[in-house]
């Protein structure tokens, strides 16, 4: 076992009898080193700069087909909502008495749409869409919201460059909460 000098005494296991130095702290070191393939299989998170976006591509026409088959039951025709969350519209409502938070009116990053659809949707069958299908559905939702053109192709290069309309309206409360 290797000792890890950065560990505080209060956190590690104090090794007592028989130890050369009673102040040395150790931890069990029972983690197995992960392989690249193991990491790649689980690493599904996509930050705003697009790191980790997979190969593949899609545009809104294919996305519309996927949407109607896999998404419309819960999110309504063309993302209009009902029975579950509305995905389209609501632009200009956020400061009103009845704000409508949708992908188009509220979400600050387009990469989040890809990330979330791929990890969690469709609700009853997550992880069932191909990467092409996820790109296509993302393109469809962005197009319905008037953010990209109908023919615009979304892929690892284009998606991070999509500027969402509400991106600049978030105020960070960490590390310091604004007064």
């Amino acid at each position: 076992m290797s000792t890890r000098s950065r560990l505080g005494v209060s956190l590690g296991v104090m090794v007592l009898a028989g130890c050369a130095s009673p102040t040395v702290t150790e931890t069990p070191n029972l983690g197995r080193v992960a392989t690249l393939a193991e990491e790649a299989g689980w690493d599904v998170s996509i930050p705003p700069d697009g790191t980790g976006l997979p190969a593949g591509r899609g545009a809104s026409a294919q996305g519309a087909v996927v949407y109607e088959q896999k998404c419309q039951n819960c999110h309504g025709e063309k993302g209009a909502g009902q029975p579950n969350d509305r995905l389209v519209g609501g632009h200009g409502t956020l400061a009103s008495k009845g704000p409508v938070r949708t992908v188009g009116s509220y979400w600050p990053y387009a990469t989040t749409v890809f990330d979330y659809v791929r990890r969690a949707m469709p609700y009853t069958q997550p992880h069932s869409l191909s990467d092409d299908e996820v790109y296509a559905v993302t393109a469809y939702l962005l197009h319905l919201n008037g953010i990209i053109g109908e023919a615009d192709v979304m892929d690892a290069l284009t998606l991070p460059n999509v500027k969402m309309p509400n991106r600049d309206n978030f105020i960070l409360a960490y590390p310091t909460r604004p007064k």
């Binding site: 080193v33 579950n84 400061a95 600050p108 990890r119 409360a173 960490y174």
Partner: protein, 423 residues
């Protein structure tokens, strides 16, 4: 402690129960949750029936008394077409003390409760580390652990109170997305140290193994401070609905960041900007801007007795009892008013009073049978005092949804009925 200078005329000194002794205790009226049962057959001079035959045998895992079957999670709401995406609430008004029974801990799931085999489950720690590591649950069980008592509160707790009219609901239905447990597990810091986390990395991503792969970014400073890889709740392994077999626990922070069914920690330079930290758990202000990364839950309190549904059966001496908590520290003071907030009296806090823990406050109150409005307000060790609803709304508007922590007012009518009011 010094006797408070300002004292509400209807409120009594908090030490009256001690001074008055048994005579005062004998006069305490109970709060009726339902019709009183008949005690005719069991009271003296009769021999009660349960003394006339041997009782039930042992059980392998005990449950509550059958007479307590009404004490259950409440206001269970799920997304349309789903049975597991939504929330259930702790019935705060049915409980006492500060520890929430594990089976009554509130739930918030984003895609149901996964059925995870602990033998097959793995925790991956990777990203900006020297050595990406995979841990089995058996391996985690061999690490040094810490036990801490902490509340957990959903950032959406009490959100109905942003509405234009006060909802006619019970304390637990309104505010029951808060619970308190003893959590035991491995300091996250140990695993990050073993993996060799890059000192330049300021964030990590925590991801669950539920069908939503629920994920949140966590500041590295919090991870290295008091974050726990929790394995036990109230002495037993986590309940499935609380993250079995392993969850993240971030004391004081909004509950959804304590990712349940934890499968992955990725050390990163910047926040990942997941759905749940951008589009969901952000706080829309009246001007259309949104606050992002509002982590600690604000200082807050609520009177649980009396409260709606617990009708006061008649004039007399009662104990006002409630809970207070703060995500930023320890509760230092809870005051109660019985005159709508004109005067306040300091209550007694049940010890031990611990940081980021539910704190029980109590004070005797002689109810004269007239209408009254009771309120509580808490102050924490950072000096923050719980705001009035007017102040909170003036500051953040009513579109905000999350982080409601305003003073709660209960109105008591002459017939003893208690209702939720904005006052």
């Amino acid at each position: 402690m010094a006797r408070p200078k300002r004292s509400s005329p209807a409120l009594l000194d908090r030490r009256i129960f001690l001074r008055g002794g048994l005579a005062a205790l004998g006069a305490i009226g109970g709060l009726a949750a339902g019709a009183p049962g008949t005690a005719r057959a069991a009271g003296p001079p009769e021999t009660p029936p349960w003394m006339q035959y041997p009782g039930a045998p042992f059980t392998t895992y005990g449950g509550p008394a059958k007479y307590e079957s009404k004490v259950m999670r409440t206001l269970i709401r799920s997304q349309p077409g789903t049975t597991g995406s939504g929330a259930s609430r702790t019935p705060l008004e049915m409980l006492e003390g500060t520890i929430t029974p594990s089976g009554l801990h509130f739930e918030r799931h984003h895609s149901g409760v996964p059925d995870i085999d602990p033998e097959q489950h793995r925790l991956l720690v990777h990203g900006m580390v020297k050595r990406p590591l995979i841990f089995t649950m058996d391996a985690l069980m061999r690490y040094p652990m810490r036990s801490r008592i902490h509340f957990m509160e959903c950032s959406g707790n009490s959100q109905l109170m942003y509405g234009a009219t006060p909802p006619a609901l019970r304390a637990g239905e309104l505010h029951g997305l808060v619970s308190c447990s003893e959590w035991t597990g491995v300091p996250l810091r140990l695993l990050l140290e073993e993996a060799g986390a890059d000192p330049a990395a300021s964030w990590l991503l925590a991801e669950g193994a539920d069908a939503a792969a629920m994920s949140r970014s966590v500041p590295m400073a919090k991870a290295m401070d008091d974050a726990l890889i929790a394995l036990f709740q109230n002495g037993e392994r986590l309940r499935p609905e609380n993250g079995y077999p392993v969850r993240l626990f971030l004391p004081g922070y909004e509950g959804n960041m304590s990712v349940k069914w934890l499968r992955r920690i990725k050390v990163t330079a910047t926040p990942t900007m997941t759905k749940d930290e951008t589009s969901r758990y952000t706080d829309l202000q009246a001007d259309g801007k949104s606050l992002m990364f509002t982590y600690p839950m604000g200082v807050k309190s609520v009177i649980t007795r009396p409260s709606p549904g617990l009708t006061m059966p008649g004039p007399g001496l009662y104990e006002v009892s409630g809970i207070a908590w703060s995500g930023s520290g320890t509760i230092t003071k809870v005051e109660v008013s019985a005159d709508g907030g004109q005067t306040w009296t300091e209550t007694t806090l049940s010890t031990p009073v611990l940081p980021r823990t539910l704190t029980r406050f109590r004070i005797p109150w002689k109810w004269n049978g007239g209408s009254a409005i009771v309120k509580s307000r808490a102050t924490d060790s950072t000096g923050e005092m719980q705001p009035t609803r007017d102040k909170l709304v003036a500051e953040h508007g009513t579109n905000v949804v999350f982080h409601y922590n305003a003073i709660q007012a209960w109105s008591i009518a002459g017939n003893g009925e208690v209702t939720n009011v904005y006052a």
